[in-house]
């Protein structure tokens, strides 16, 4: 897996540049296949599934729009090509975004990104607070279900409970944050976090995979420039 944030940024910028420059379905589909292959090889099946689930409704709507507009429009164009171009573009931006943030969920990774002190606390808490609040929300729904205030556990029934869940959820989360803030202040957690943070070993030498992650997008952008402008 590509661990260096700098490598991810460089390859990401190259992909975005190519995306903005090209108007060819072939070039975009090639880049999509490359990124999907990387996600498959790295074993990020859940990310790939999420991307496909996100793009599926967009694809359906885009094709429906072009199918319907082909009846109303008098302008001669190539709707399937335009739609494919858009779809591959979206797929590429989604896959790129997924690979940019893959694996950034641990202390070491956040430190590697250069986060320290308060920013490090925000990043760690951001990834840990959501499951905590989800558990509390489930507990509130359970309590309302037990009291006979919720008829079923369907998604629509749960959605109607939203206004009743939010207030106790927010109050409980704020109480927890205040308790944490006090404990941290008493124990000097921020200072401890700063002083006891073990230095992360920074790799100065490029890993072969990281070299490929830069060279491939570079070759892709060069090819695009060659085909589009020369």
């Amino acid at each position: 897996m590509i661990s260096s944030p700098q490598v991810r940024l460089i390859s990401g910028l190259l992909i975005v540049s190519g995306l903005l420059l090209t108007r060819q379905v072939l070039m975009l589909s090639a880049a999509c296949v490359g990124l999907i292959a990387y996600l498959l090889i790295a074993g990020h099946f859940a990310t790939l599934r999420r991307n496909l689930l996100a793009i599926a409704p967009i694809a359906v709507i885009l094709f429906a729009v072009h199918y319907l507009s082909s009846y109303t429009s008098t302008i001669q164009s190539n709707p399937p090509t335009q739609t494919l171009l858009r779809l591959f573009g979206i797929m590429l931006t989604f896959s790129y975004m997924a690979t940019m943030f893959l694996g950034y969920d641990s202390l070491d990774r956040f430190v590697q990104l250069g986060l320290r002190g308060e920013h490090l606390v925000i990043a760690i808490s951001a990834t840990s607070t959501l499951p905590l609040m989800q558990t509390t929300a489930v507990q509130i729904i359970d309590a309302r279900f037990a009291a006979g205030l919720v008829r079923s556990r369907s998604i629509f029934s749960t959605a109607t409970q939203l206004p009743y869940i939010l207030r106790p959820l927010l109050t409980q989360a704020l109480r927890l944050a205040i308790a944490r803030s006090d404990t941290w202040h008493q124990r000097g957690m921020m200072q401890r976090l700063e002083s006891n943070l073990s230095p992360v070993r920074m790799e100065h030498r490029l890993h072969p995979v990281e070299l490929v992650a830069i060279l491939l997008p570079l070759a892709w952008v060069t090819l695009i420039v060659g085909r589009e402008f020369l």
Partner: protein, 200 residues
């Protein structure tokens, strides 16, 4: 012997931001899954901006959308700029006491919707080709299919869905904040809360 009456220590905003992020993600995700023509994904940003200021609000908005991109839907991070607009607008209006009364709150909620509709439109048009997969996209899709230009359709669908959505979010955020017990509110900046109409 009685203890000296010391004011309560203010809460560390680093612990408030994750709550705002979790609120944005939790509510926004449910709405996105249900494909409702609203978003409700900025309540956390509005709450944090009103409780802890514009810097905390911007961090909440941007981080929640980056995180949502990794956890929920990869389209979210591209709309981080809209969250910045929400935090800046909320802060600017609250600073001038615009949220103290109900009717101005409704009016500024609608205006916030216009601002976010304008901020999101370029991303939807140039990055997604007019369809971003949200509930509002269905309106845009209908308009495109009936012959409207993509930018025009996205702007119209945004202006149809966003003002109502942002007004609801502003009112919901205020209703939630008004329900917070006084002992919790006492841990936040009193001047900020008075100015924002949360304390009298």
């Amino acid at each position: 012997m009685s203890m000296p009456d010391t004011p309560p220590r203010p809460i560390n905003s680093a612990l408030l931001i994750p709550i705002g992020i979790a609120l944005n993600l939790a509510i926004g995700t449910v709405v996105h899954i249900l494909k409702l023509p609203i978003f409700l994904d900025a309540i956390g940003t509005i709450i944090v901006t009103l409780l802890a200021g514009v810097r905390a609000g911007i961090i909440t908005g941007v981080l929640s959308f980056v995180l949502a991109g990794a956890l929920v839907n990869p389209s979210y991070p591209w709309f981080s700029g809209t969250q910045v607009v929400i935090a800046l607008f909320t802060h600017t209006v609250a600073k001038r006491g615009g949220y103290r009364r109900l009717f101005p709150r409704i009016a500024f909620g609608l205006l916030l919707g216009v601002a976010t509709g304008l901020a999101s439109a370029p991303v939807i048009v140039y990055l997604f080709g007019g369809i971003s997969g949200s509930g509002a996209s269905l309106i845009a899709a209908y308009l495109i299919a009936t012959g409207k230009k993509v930018l025009e359709a996205v702007l119209l669908s945004g202006l149809a869905a966003e003002p109502l959505d942002k007004m609801l979010q502003t009112l919901l955020a205020y209703a939630l904040l008004r329900g917070i017990p006084a002992d919790i509110l006492a841990r936040f900046d009193r001047t900020l809360l008075e100015r924002n109409g949360l304390l009298k």
